[in-house]
Symmetry: C2
Subunit: 399 residues, 2 copies
């Protein structure tokens, strides 16, 4: 029998999905599970998006341009201009979700064996795309004590070798919820310019910044246009994960020409998703205000409740809809599995993401979990009750 | 300025798209262009598919399962069973177009530096996906004189090295329209078993087999299940290129488990496309009968007309909606560009795909072009008049 490739063998399984079989068994046994494990929001998709698809009048469902529908790209450029991101529609390539934007950016910017520095914990699928592109991730550790702020810039510099070709960040951060300050981004800029690296920034949680804190995009940095690649997605913005529409944005023309070659090979992004995404740009501000208010309330509740639990610590994030909590446990993989397999509180339990999957350094995140506050407050309350009671009886609890 | 990767630089531009700027200029000058250059059918998408999307009642446009919506996979398995392809729904992974099925199959089965043998001319984007996966394509030449039938099996065997890990075919073929016979596939099977290779078969034109000729799938071959990967798409079947829905199918469990890891990294295929694709499985047989009748008439007209032109030879294909014609020209790239830049017949011209882009061996296909008969008969007739007149005055004509 022919064997799958070493790349295929070493491709990491999604850390969030590996618990799914245990969740399925728990469900079959009749347990109710509160899913705080995955960034699938419960917020309704705006009707602007859904109605545009329903009212589309297509006779032939054709390929779109490989870089996306021109009218959508033009309108999308204005959306970014509204965030003081000074780009033209030709600087935008529409992708099949933010996932494809990451994959094409890696294929475009890096060669097999090149190294990329990423502050950890980071979005687990960066590992998968790095594997697909044969790029080596060099993690630099951020810590829960600082709320996962940018690690000291010297820690990045220590890792730089002749193979280092880029730095990648997620801002606001998944899984940390951390929002980088202008000063932090300026430090990154200096390093990027010093070593002439690419700076890839995943900013899909732009709409989710709280407490009046400023969203600073890498595209706001001056005199560094050729090094910057912005990765984006409408999945979280409009609660439209299934549309599979994202974007790769750069003012570096060589990057865009090369990225387009990868895009042409796969022909085009999905047409229905693009129709919806274009219409969604007219979603009224009230939609976002309401969503933001909801997330702030959820976050405040979750953070307060977690920090009241004995032995639990959770920094308060300023963005996205995730937080990482430190728990008094031996092993977060075991704990999250145990929650599904062996625990219930009045027939209910909670599903969390072990933070181990968000670290590239082995042995990290063993006492941390990621919570996505994507459920309504009533469900969140019940989920917190489950977690509190679980921690009281978990056999691997550490004093 | 940081440099884009060598992979990015060596990624081939789509041979079909490279003429697009010339077409745009021609259009601006007021020329009417008959597009026979791209496989975008003019056939209407069945209402089953479009109506299902329009009538969808989604509140939250969520991620689907990474392997696709279960109900769609189950129904799709039955579609294949109807072609005597004996598979279960768990043997199917839904992909974002056939493009992603090819890409994930290559990432799953092959390592950087592995070699894959493909009969040429072949679908140009196989080059792109090979480049993305760092796989080396070893072409084996099929010839226009035989109508692009399978090259002698010894020609494949000559290319086999310890690095050879697979063979890839397209059946019915793009760009050739050739339909492999059972005997040809049995020869491939023997070779695949002898060297324990993967056999990847792109069968997206299954519904387009003519003259009562038998469609034989690689999945019909006995005792070779673990070596077989079927790649598919709904783009041509339902004239739904913009849906971006395909499938990767194998009974090799290790392949499917590994492929799913790549699928999980990109989260899910598009939801609207899957809703449409599931409904499209109920498209009545009359739709396909009508489409097939239309394509046969177009093919017959195009082939007859081409072969009447002086110095032109075009074998009659039995499948898909392409044919490759040999023309009395010096260079098909130059000729196709000249058609757009320097020629018109009563203000009209024709856009063709130079066959050079479908060959991996440099210098091949210089006197061949691919025609996609995806226009109605009236337009095809006018396109043929343009071509005939163009050949009379083309400065690079060879006697």
């Amino acid at each position: 029998m022919p064997l799958v490739s070493i790349k295929g063998k070493t491709m990491p399984a999604s850390p969030i999905r590996k618990l799914v079989p245990f969740a399925e068994t728990a469900k079959k046994e009749g347990k109710k599970i509160y899913h705080l494990n995955i960034g699938q929001p419960d917020i309704e998709t705006p009707s602007t998006l859904l109605d545009a698809v329903k009212n589309s009048n297509i006779k032939i469902l054709e390929y779109s341009h490989s870089a996306g529908i021109e009218s959508y790209r033009k309108k999308l450029a204005k959306y970014y201009n509204g965030f003081h991101i000074n780009i033209d529609w030709t600087d935008i390539m529409i992708t099949t979700g933010g996932s494809e934007a990451i994959e094409i950016a890696m294929m475009t910017c890096f060669n097999a064996g090149d190294e990329i520095i990423i502050p950890e914990p980071f979005y687990a699928n960066y590992n998968g795309f790095s594997c697909a592109a044969d790029v080596i991730v060099k993690p630099v550790k951020s810590t829960i004590e600082t709320g996962f702020s940018l690690p000291p810039i010297q820690e990045f510099e220590k890792l730089i070798t002749p193979k280092t070709k880029g730095i990648m960040i997620c801002n606001p951060g998944n899984p940390t919820g951390y929002l980088y300050s202008r000063q932090e981004l300026e430090l990154l800029k200096q390093l990027v310019l010093k070593y002439d690296l690419f700076l890839l920034s995943d900013e899909v949680y732009r709409e989710f910044c709280y407490d009046g804190k400023e969203y600073v995009s890498v595209m706001h940095l001056k005199d560094i246009d050729n090094n910057i690649i912005l990765l984006d997605s409408i999945s979280k913005r409009y609660s439209a994960c299934g549309a599979r529409i994202g974007a790769l944005i750069s003012k570096n023309k060589e990057v865009m020409i090369t990225a387009l070659k990868f895009a042409q090979a796969r022909l085009s992004p999905p047409t229905f998703g693009q129709i919806g995404a274009e219409a969604a740009l007219d979603t009224p501000k009230e939609y976002f205000d309401k969503v933001q208010k909801e997330y702030v309330e959820r976050r405040n509740f979750v953070i307060q409740t977690l920090n009241k639990m004995e032995g639990v610590f959770c920094p308060k994030p300023s963005g996205a809809f995730y937080c990482i909590a430190r728990l008094p446990i031996d092993n977060s993989d075991k704990f999250c599995q145990w929650l599904l397999e062996s625990f219930d509180f009045n027939g209910e339990t909670v599903m969390l993401a072990p933070a181990t999957g968000f670290y590239s350094t082995p042995g990290s995140g063993l006492n941390e979990v990621r919570l996505a506050y994507v459920l309504n407050k009533e469900s969140l309350q019940k989920a917190m009750v489950c977690l509190e009671n679980a921690l009281k009886v978990y056999p691997g609890r550490i004093k």
